[in-house]
């Protein structure tokens, strides 16, 4: 390169963000990309609102017993005194009161509020772990494909195509049943097994999405000047991979991980809705929605778990969008 100064090659981008970003970022020495992103993120009120809700949800899930202790009843406790034994519906329609904030379930009168709170545990746990799994597999596959190229890339890319060609839900549904047959041979049982099963299915089938993105990023990074520069001074493969490429992949990985969580929340809810997933009486949002179909004349039963899913997913999406804007300002244009 003939550039005498620090010419980034971005100059032809007349858009003001690019100018200010390119210039601003470099002018302030000692501020990492992370700090800059954090500054930007802090200013994004919507994203921070989303983050606030996410934190709130996580706290509520982690401290579910405490929250329920304050505002409700144990999630699996029956309150049949709340139920009209002829119609099996809550007395007075919903049973909403200061004692039961969201009312009670039909049939056995369980506290809907505490079940929604406990539902957050499963939902978030599965979504986080599944995302982690997808990100790990996806990143490794993506980097390997993008970095090594050639037949390795071709093989992994085809593999991703195959994965994407599978009818995901059909497979997930059948796999839960098929893998359940291994249950006797495994040491883990009950909810733990079910959660791991869900994590495996959701995480394992979602990695190609993130894999494709990381592969693309790696490909373009590989061609970027600073990698050329490193190579020209004799840097070796592993060095380039770990010191030059991976650090630059952190931002996209973080962004897509954040955006994958809400989609996994939806996926978990869908599986629970279709009746595979955690065993009762453990509360899940999707499971509650499925049960509520029969009781559509008391819509509070479907409303609260549905809204819980909506708010959770929305919060993660808002935060994820904000994070993307902060880490990768050009993408927001």
């Amino acid at each position: 390169m003939t550039a005498p100064l620090d010419v980034s090659g971005d100059e032809q981008h007349a858009a003001p963000e690019a100018v200010s970003q390119g210039a601003g970022a470099k002018a302030i020495q000692g501020r990492s990309l992370g700090q800059i992103a954090w500054t930007r993120l802090k200013r994004d009120k919507v994203a921070m609102g989303g983050a606030g809700v996410v934190v709130f949800l996580i706290l509520a899930a982690v401290f579910a017993p405490v929250v329920v202790g304050w505002f409700g009843h144990p999630p699996n406790e029956f309150h049949q005194e709340m139920i009209d034994t002829l119609t099996m519906q809550p007395k007075g329609g919903t049973g909403i009161s200061a004692d039961f904030l969201f009312g009670v379930e039909p049939v056995n009168g369980r506290d809907l509020f505490s079940r929604v709170v406990y539902g957050a545990r499963i939902s978030l746990l599965v979504a986080f772990l599944a995302t982690l799994l997808s990100v790990v597999i996806g990143s490794i596959m993506g980097v390997v494909a993008g970095y090594f190229g050639g037949w390795v890339d071709a093989l992994i890319s085809r593999l991703m195509d195959v994965f994407l060609a599978f009818p995901l839900l059909v497979f997930a549904l059948s796999l839960v049943g098929v893998l359940g047959q291994f249950e006797t041979q495994l040491a883990i049982k009950g909810d733990t097994l079910r959660i791991l099963l869900l994590v495996f299915i959701i995480g394992f089938f979602n990695w190609p999405y993130i894999g494709r993105i990381i592969r693309g990023q790696t490909l373009s990074l590989r061609e970027r000047e600073f990698v050329d520069a490193a190579r020209s001074i004799g840097a070796r493969g592993p060095y380039i991979l770990f010191r030059e490429i991976l650090p630059n992949l952190i931002a996209p990985i973080l962004i897509y991980a954040t955006l994958l969580i809400p989609s996994n929340v939806l996926f978990e809810a869908a599986l629970s809705f279709l009746g595979v997933g955690i065993q009762p009486p453990t509360a899940t949002w999707g499971g509650m929605l499925a049960a509520a179909v029969k009781y559509y004349t008391v819509p509070h039963f479907m409303f609260f778990p549905g809204m819980a899913i909506f708010i959770t997913v929305l919060a993660f999406n808002l935060f994820g969008d904000g994070l993307r804007d902060a880490l990768d300002p050009r993408s927001s244009r």
Binding site: Q80, T87, K294
Partner: protein, 587 residues
């Protein structure tokens, strides 16, 4: 356990009196009194539970279209390949079995009357030979005269269980078939006269291996509906069964809709029991359940073919609307929802531990789980009240659980601090899930910790609860279960669920009743010729099952059913505990 949605056939043995009248005719006394408020007794044609004891809207007006619907397709409309009560009930409008049930409300409806045959079966040889005379002049829809050979062919063809997987196996179990007979398709030339003889076109003679006094019950199944051999196409016959009754299929779209029109070759003179009022039947399959209820309420449909009752959502609507409630009935079926205690799985090998579970269970909670008072009456025994020989048992409390007694039993079992076990249920059945959850709550109070595990219905008996190798390995001690009688004698109800000798490698319905005493009683009952004595033995079987604490009975099933607007001649038949489909009409 074929009959997933429909209530199974419930048959009075001959003219045996129905014991326990309150339960027989009009639904369980307890459940009914709580809500009917005397509506059933009103003189008006309509009213809550009006169709249980009498004909609502009697009429002889012909014409109109009767619209029926069902939430899903049933097994088959081939009379030789069906095990649903709704189908046994409904098939009679296009097919005529040798005998059938008297089209009359309540217990009267359990009486058998001749249909294709001139009279009920004539027994000889100590009940091993049964002879029927076919009415002369009865024709198929194409005008061919029906002969005894068509009946024989129909009975023989449905013995091929490779082809017709759905139907019951009673004829195969009892008929004295030659060894080399495989099926009418594979061995068409084998002489089967040792099993069924047709000395002339009107006469058909059944020869049994062992005597059975209630053979008319067999003859009342759709298996005796005649099938012309030259029109039989095996499994594909269900695409157009040939009519012998007053209606024939106009259009068959499997899984979607059936329409039936009048059969021009049906002669009312040959048929004393059918009124054949509507001009046309329209059956819609696969209607969404809530939508189906709504359409009956609005008058768009006349009847829910399944006859098991409205959905949870509609229950409340019906309860709160006097007009709708006056069109509703709450019959009790010959079906018990119960919970098996697997005596092979420790600590349930100890009867006291089993008793502990029964004491600890919240019986009201279970009733609620199965849908509340309108969906079931708390069961004190395994046998439903409409089965001959039923007696009210009072071995265990039926309240909300007796923790003290449960603890006593636990102490006697050597587990004073309780124990842990796993309970299975059918995951696609919300009621069983609710029952399992109720059990978990109630048993926890006595120190018995349950882990719940749901499996799909299709796999439940073949791969999980009904497979001893699995249940032992996975410490499954409790399993939801349910059973309905094909016949309302003890044999029809008990033979598959309490006899330890029917237990095989997988696919069992008897999950834990293993008692030589009970096995001996069953043998004794099967040899007993006198119906009353036999019934009494079956009653004893019920007592022994409960004494041995092998099962925890939950409820005897009931359903809240709706009569459509403008429907005439409506009543609940005691034969099927659903609206009798034989003589319905429309205004």
């Amino acid at each position: 356990m074929r009959k997933r949605y429909a209530t199974p056939a419930l048959v009075a043995t001959g003219v045996a009196l129905c014991l326990g009248l309150s339960a027989c005719g009009g639904g369980g006394g307890g459940g009914q009194s709580a809500d009917s408020g005397g509506a059933a007794g009103q003189g008006d044609a309509a009213g809550f539970n009006a169709a249980l004891e009498k004909v609502v809207n009697p009429s002889d007006k012909k014409g109109g279209t009767l619209k029926m619907a069902i939430t899903e397709a049933w097994d088959s409309i081939d009379p030789g390949d069906t095990y649903y009560a709704l189908s046994w009930n409904f098939s009679r409008i296009y097919g005529r079995p040798l005998v059938t049930y008297n089209p009359a409300p309540g217990a009267e409806g359990r009486k058998l009357v001749p249909d294709l045959a001139e009279s009920l079966g004539e027994a000889s040889d100590g009940g091993k030979t049964w002879t029927y005379k076919i009415r002369p002049g009865v024709k198929f829809e194409d005008g061919t005269i029906i002969t005894s050979k068509d009946v024989k062919y129909a009975v023989l063809r449905q013995l091929d269980k490779d082809t017709f997987v759905n139907g019951p196996t009673y004829f195969g179990d009892y008929l004295d078939l030659p060894k080399d007979f495989k099926s009418v398709y594979k061995t068409p030339d084998v002489n089967t006269d040792s099993a069924i003889e047709t000395p002339d076109d009107q006469t058909i003679v059944f020869h049994l291996k062992k005597p059975y006094a209630g053979f008319d019950n067999f003859a009342a199944t759709p298996a005796t509906v005649p099938v012309p051999k030259d029109k039989d196409s095996g499994i594909k016959y269900r695409q157009h069964p040939i009519a012998s009754g007053p209606y024939m299929f106009e259009k068959v779209e499997e899984g979607k809709q059936y329409t039936l029109v009048r059969n021009p070759n049906w002669d009312p003179a040959t048929d004393p029991i059918r009124k054949a009022l509507p001009d046309r039947y329209e059956l819609q399959l696969g209607v969404e359940a809530n939508d189906l209820d709504n359409r009956i309420m609005s008058g768009d449909l006349h009847i829910d073919l399944a006859g098991t009752g409205v959905q949870a959502a509609a229950t409340a609507t019906v309860q709160n609307d006097p007009e709708l409630k006056a069109r509703a009935d709450n019959p009790t079926a010959a079906r018990t929802w119960y919970i098996s205690l697997l005596s092979d799985t420790p600590p349930f090998d100890n009867v006291e531990c089993r008793k502990a579970v029964i004491y600890a269970a919240d019986r009201v909670g279970l009733q609620n789980a199965y849908g509340g008072q309108l969906a079931g009456e708390i069961a004190s025994g395994l046998m439903p009240p409409s089965i001959g020989g039923w007696q009210k048992l009072d071995l265990y409390p039926t309240g909300t659980g007796d923790v003290a007694k449960a603890k006593e039993a636990l102490a006697a079992c050597g587990k004073p601090d309780g124990f842990e076990t796993t309970m299975t249920f059918r995951s696609d059945r919300p009621k069983e899930q609710a029952a399992a959850e109720s059990m978990q709550q109630a048993l926890a109070k006595a120190g018995i910790k349950l882990t719940l595990k749901g499996f799909p219905t299709s796999e439940y008996f073949p791969s999980y609860a009904g497979k001893p190798a699995y249940t032992k390995k996975n410490n499954i001690g409790i399993a939801t279960n349910g059973w309905a009688a094909d016949w309302n004698d003890g044999f029809g109800f008990f033979s598959q669920i309490v006899d330890s000798r029917v237990i095989r490698e997988a696919g069992n319905y008897n999950l834990g009743v293993k008692s030589p005493e009970i096995d001996a009683l069953i043998d004794k009952a099967n040899l007993e010729q006198d119906a009353a004595t036999r019934d009494a033995i079956w009653g004893e079987v019920d007592r022994k099952v409960m004494e041995g604490a092998y099962v925890l009975p939950a409820v005897w099933a009931k359903g809240l059913t709706l009569r459509g607007k403008g429907l005439t001649n409506v009543f609940v038949t005691g034969a099927y505990d659903m609206y009798d489909y034989l003589n319905l009409g429309v205004e």
